[in-house]
Symmetry: C2
Subunit: 707 residues, 2 copies
């Protein structure tokens, strides 16, 4: 049997390997052919725009993070922990923020270089294009998971976790908070950017002057393509970085309660499982082959099955080695894996054209935009039911598996909570592969845009390339939708884990024994008030996020109109529009608009804790704030993601020739639904996943303030 330090070094080794493999993939992708000069012109514009956005966004987030780091340092220095703890908290926070930013930046750096290579490869065949897109996406997937693991494991090692495994996980909670903090702004800023650019480009381009989507004459077209990268790609990367980091730390804190029975091995278990899952995901990506004729979705699915199988095997091995072969915990992990698969199915049911909900919405378009909206909203409200039942089953099932695992010297409650933590690990074990599939989406989307814009003349060869890209793009849309379901499901499980960790943290701060009761009693007035405020925050945050898109879109609409008026040559095709000004305007506006909702999310729980502390109920009111805020957040995210996805595909269903097809009255009604769904599914919904985890991590860090 290896020793605990060998396990830890093994984890560190695997995470470094993951980073090296990501780098190798990046190198191999970049060596591919970079297409025609015309393609490069488009691609360079996207690259410039995306990098300019990221640079500015990073600067904004850096300043906010710096301010927060100072607050954390000063706050902890003044609190009982003293300056040593303050230093550790601050280092963790900064490292979490930096790793998250680095993972996002490097993934994006590769993605915006991959898109043109995919477009170029599509000239010669589908298989090559698909492989390049997936490998480009895998750079994000691997670097996110590996950097998160490396950060947590390194902090654990450096802070002396091998000697003091119970205290150290509590000292690195700020790593998760740093990651959440960056993730929130990355997702909000990117989400606002992408939808504002999309809405702006469509409203003036398609509706007002009547040019097709992705037409090179539209001044906002590059901003739209940049948006795909900064919103979908960087945003989701930050989201899952945060999930994996927070899950790791939360699970280690919960494992501390099992120390009497499992020792340090229980605490290392989450790290080992994640490392083995990463290896499974890497193998999955390399297992994707496929021939020129086969369905690309099938090839991607094969890789996913490989990743799942290997992750499951790794799980079993880790349970055998570290948890004394207690198979109850293995089954809890399987429950988590099953949850991830069920979430993917449910998301498909509610958002794909072949099932009832989307078809009902499409049919409602026959009686106009209003019935379309009502019908889609009703689907959004309905779609929360199945996921909630799955989450309830997963949490209850894994809790009872844990509680009945027969762990000696430990209360069944603590063992049960560890069971729910293990289910979360199971759900997140294939995060690397899922993220690679997800990033595949914006890459093929962009590649499609490049092909569209650089092949203006309709040649048979051009048509073939476009047909190949359309097929890849459709697959990318599917994977994007599926990972959104996965992200919200894992956020829900991770959140439950995290507020158990919060209660543990509070008990530790109050020097209560780990087994003592610390009820979050909803029947108490301040606790109920906290719960009400938590749910309210979710509504208010969503409102701000949605309004931000509207405000930001206004700026780009005005700029596009201005350009069309100022230079009639643009529409005639004789002069080029000024793409970069559009990008610049939407960048500045998106970054401005992300500040208020972002700060609301950060300040909300702290304010509640500090105010209710006056009523001697700071910690419990915040716990209820967090838990009920999480419940409202999960439901609202499901509502927004799925209604948005369903409206999008109802439009596509009509465009496939149903109910009058493109250009019919029904289609016009469907376009309204699609536009309404945009900020729902790409701004507010995904931001809510992040919000949930931010609430959990900030309360973990700020807990001393509430006591």
């Amino acid at each position: 049997m290896p020793t605990s330090s060998q396990y830890l070094y093994g984890v560190l080794g695997i995470s470094v390997c993951g980073i090296l493999i990501a780098a190798g993939l990046a190198r191999s992708v970049i060596r591919k052919d970079a297409g025609t000069p015309e393609m490069r012109r488009i691609s360079d514009a996207i690259k410039l725009g995306a990098e300019a956005f990221l640079r500015r966004q990073s600067r904004t987030i850096f300043l906010l993070a710096l301010a927060l780091a100072v607050i954390i340092f000063v706050g902890y220095s003044l609190s009982s922990g003293g300056s040593a703890l303050a230093m550790r908290m601050t280092i963790s926070f900064v490292l979490g923020a930096a790793c998250s930013a680095l993972a996002g930046f490097s993934g994006m750096w590769v993605s915006i270089r991959t898109n043109i290579r995919v477009a170029s490869a599509a000239r010669f065949g589908m298989r090559g294009a698909m492989r390049i897109a997936l490998r480009g996406g895998a750079v994000t997937g691997f670097s996110v998971v590996a950097l998160s693991l490396l950060g947590v494991a390194a902090l654990f090692l450096v802070f002396g976790g091998l000697a003091d495994p119970i205290t150290v996980p509590r000292q690195i909670v700020a790593f998760g908070f740093g990651a959440s903090f960056v993730a929130l702004f990355a997702q909000l800023g990117g989400g606002i950017f992408t939808k504002a650019a999309d809405v702006g480009a469509d409203l003036v381009g398609k509706v007002e002057v009547g040019i097709p989507e992705d037409d090179h004459r539209n001044p906002a077209v590059i901003a739209d393509l940049v948006g795909d990268n900064v919103g979908d790609c960087a945003g989701r990367g930050a989201d899952l970085f945060e999930s994996t980091a927070a899950e790791n730390i939360g699970a280690m804190i919960l494992a501390a309660a099992l120390y009497p029975a499992l020792g340090i091995k229980g605490i290392l278990f989450p790290l080992v499982v994640r490392a083995l899952g990463l290896l499974g995901s890497i193998a999955g990506v390399f297992a994707v082959g496929g021939s020129e004729e086969s369905d690309p979705m099938h090839s991607l699915n094969r890789g996913f099955y490989v990743a799942v199988a290997l992750a499951t095997a790794g799980f079993g091995a880790a349970v055998y080695l570290l948890l004394d072969g207690n198979w109850n915990f293995f089954f809890a992990g399987l429950l988590g894996i099953a949850t991830s698969i069920l979430f993917v199915f449910i998301t498909q049911y509610y958002t794909e054209t072949k099932y009832r909900p989307v078809q009902d919405i499409a049919k409602a378009c026959l009686t106009g935009a209003a019935t379309n909206i009502i019908s889609g909203f009703a689907v959004g409200l309905e779609c929360v039911a199945a996921p909630v039942l799955v989450i309830v089953a997963a949490i209850l099932g894994s809790y009872y598996l844990g509680a009945h695992a027969g762990i000696a010297n430990v209360s069944p409650h603590s063992a049960g909570l560890f069971g729910t933590a293990i289910a979360t690990m199971g759900m997140l074990s294939t995060a690397g592969y899922i993220l690679a599939m997800d990033t595949f989406g914006p890459i093929t989307d962009n590649a499609g845009g490049i092909v569209e814009m650089s092949h203006n003349v309709a040649t048979p060869e051009g048509d073939l390339v476009r047909a190949r890209m359309d097929r890849l793009d459709a697959v990318g849309n599917t994977t994007k939708a599926l990972t959104k379901g996965y992200a919200v499901g894992s956020a829900a499980l991770a959140a439950f884990l995290l507020f158990s960790a919060y209660i543990d943290q509070v008990k530790a701060l109050l020097h209560l024994p780990a087994e003592s009761a610390f009820p979050i009693d909803l029947g108490q007035v301040p606790v109920f008030a906290g719960a009400l405020l938590g749910a309210m925050l979710v509504f208010l945050f969503s409102s701000f996020a949605i309004k931000a898109v509207g405000k930001c879109a206004q700026t780009i609409i005005q700029e596009v109109r201005r350009q069309f008026q100022a230079d009639p040559g643009i529409m005639a095709g004789t002069s080029d529009p000024d793409y970069s000004t559009c990008v610049d305007i939407v960048t500045r506006s998106a970054l401005k608009e992300m500040i208020v909702p972002g700060l609301l999310a950060v300040a909300g729980p702290v304010l509640v804790g500090v105010v209710f502390r006056q009523f001697h109920a700071g910690a419990t009111a915040v716990a209820a704030f967090l838990m009920v805020g999480t419940i409202a957040g999960i439901l609202m995210a499901l509502l927004m993601n799925n209604s948005g996805g369903a409206w999008d595909n109802a439009k596509k269903f009509i465009e496939m020739g149903n109910y009058g097809g493109k250009g019919s009255e029904a289609h016009k009604a469907a376009v309204v639904g699609d536009t309404v769904g945009d900020p729902f599914k790409d701004t507010a919904g995904p931001s809510l996943h992040v919000l949930i985890k931010l609430l959990s991590t900030i309360t973990l860090v700020a807990a001393p303030l509430f006591l």
Copy 2:
């Protein structure tokens, strides 16, 4: 000092007086001139339709209630309470259901006879018309409050409450459940009917064949007018009947905890306050005078101030007589009154044309229907913040006033909960007047419709009458919107009171001392699962309610189209459409569609309790289900009511000549928002108020099942 039996008989006397005054008002209204034969033709059609709907609805509800009464009787007979308790529970349930139905039926009976008298009086002046409308509305207001009070007080007396004041309030909880049960179906059925008829009439009439609203050629026009009665008038009456009944019983249960200090007087306090509030409301209605020139809204407001002032004085007197003059409780009551006023202001801010939110939405119509929807939805999400802060302040404030009231021999927690109960009493003390103002809305709406349909020729005299009716109608719209805000606010406060009562009930069933802790610990897995399921129920219920409107509207759309095709004479004005078939179809469809959401609401909490009982967490999981379901319900109801109201008024704002006025592209976009908002604000939103209280009362009744 009067004795306790004198207080109780006084309460009974006042409630009987209230009923007699309602009857007298009804008589005086019906004696008024019933208009021209043409008016009577329209009015009779409305009357026939409304009564046919109510008859069928009553039959459906009666059958459902009968089944439930049997279940309650059998269930309680088998439980530890024995057949004596079973009989009392069943009698209470049946009486609650019957009184609620009676109040609704009689109010409606008068309303549909008042509308034509208002229309007739409008020929001679505004003042007379307004007085008749208010007095007709007051019949509903007084009979609802008086019957609810009479039912509770009579049960308390008959069950021997004077001898055993601690146990008896627990035996009459089923009165509240019976009322809630009828209210849920009344509101759902009426809400589905009214919006389906509205949407159906508009879609075919206004959009497809281009005839104005309330045009007599539209076969659905009578159904639309019937809908105003069965939805707005009967629905809200049942809603407030339930609030007042549930509040009375819940407050009596909480007062039992203060028995050592206050004796039976504390338990009688809620009844006395309600009786005095009823007297205040009666005086308020009679104080409404006004001249021909004065603004009708001012006159109504003056009556409201009279009612508030008298209710406050009554509150003070009751505190002096029954609560040993403990002014902390008086201030708690004032907090409740202040809450009701703040809710009215907040509702006005978010839904009236003169404030920013509605104007922003109207502006968003300039860029089309999609931006209108996004903007309105964002307002709906935003508008939950202020009411939540008010509720939190009211609950916390009244709790601390109660806890620091210095009640001897009682825990501060129990005294604090009684404080929150008193705030709820304060909020509901003017319910009679509010309901009179509310019913004023559908009466003037109908009167306007009658005037519109019976004055086809544009004469100067006809124009004058129409102008008078438009003014009254506008006032009616305002009062309807305000009472919706009031209803959701009082539902929120009453719900908090009711789940405190539920916890008391569970402790009594478990033979735990009243002062013992019974935490609803959200950190426990089953409790958290219950919470998640409670919030989910609200979403699912809303989805069903919204979908029901769509399905029901489809049936009426087909019928209207069929009639136009079958008889071209209808459009030409040479033959009358078949109004009654339309009413009949929408009646049957609405009653069919109300069953599923209704049963979901009833079965949901029971199922959760019974399933989680297997995990030894039935009572606590249900409590969390109830509390978090209530939180989600309050927020969702606010979202739906206010976004719907705001869309409605954004359309009106454009029709006032802004952004292009009627017929412009902006107006078309605004119509989409208005249509989307219809099922939100008139079906799902108000049904959620009722749902919240149904969840509270059903869990009170079914509590023995969960243990």
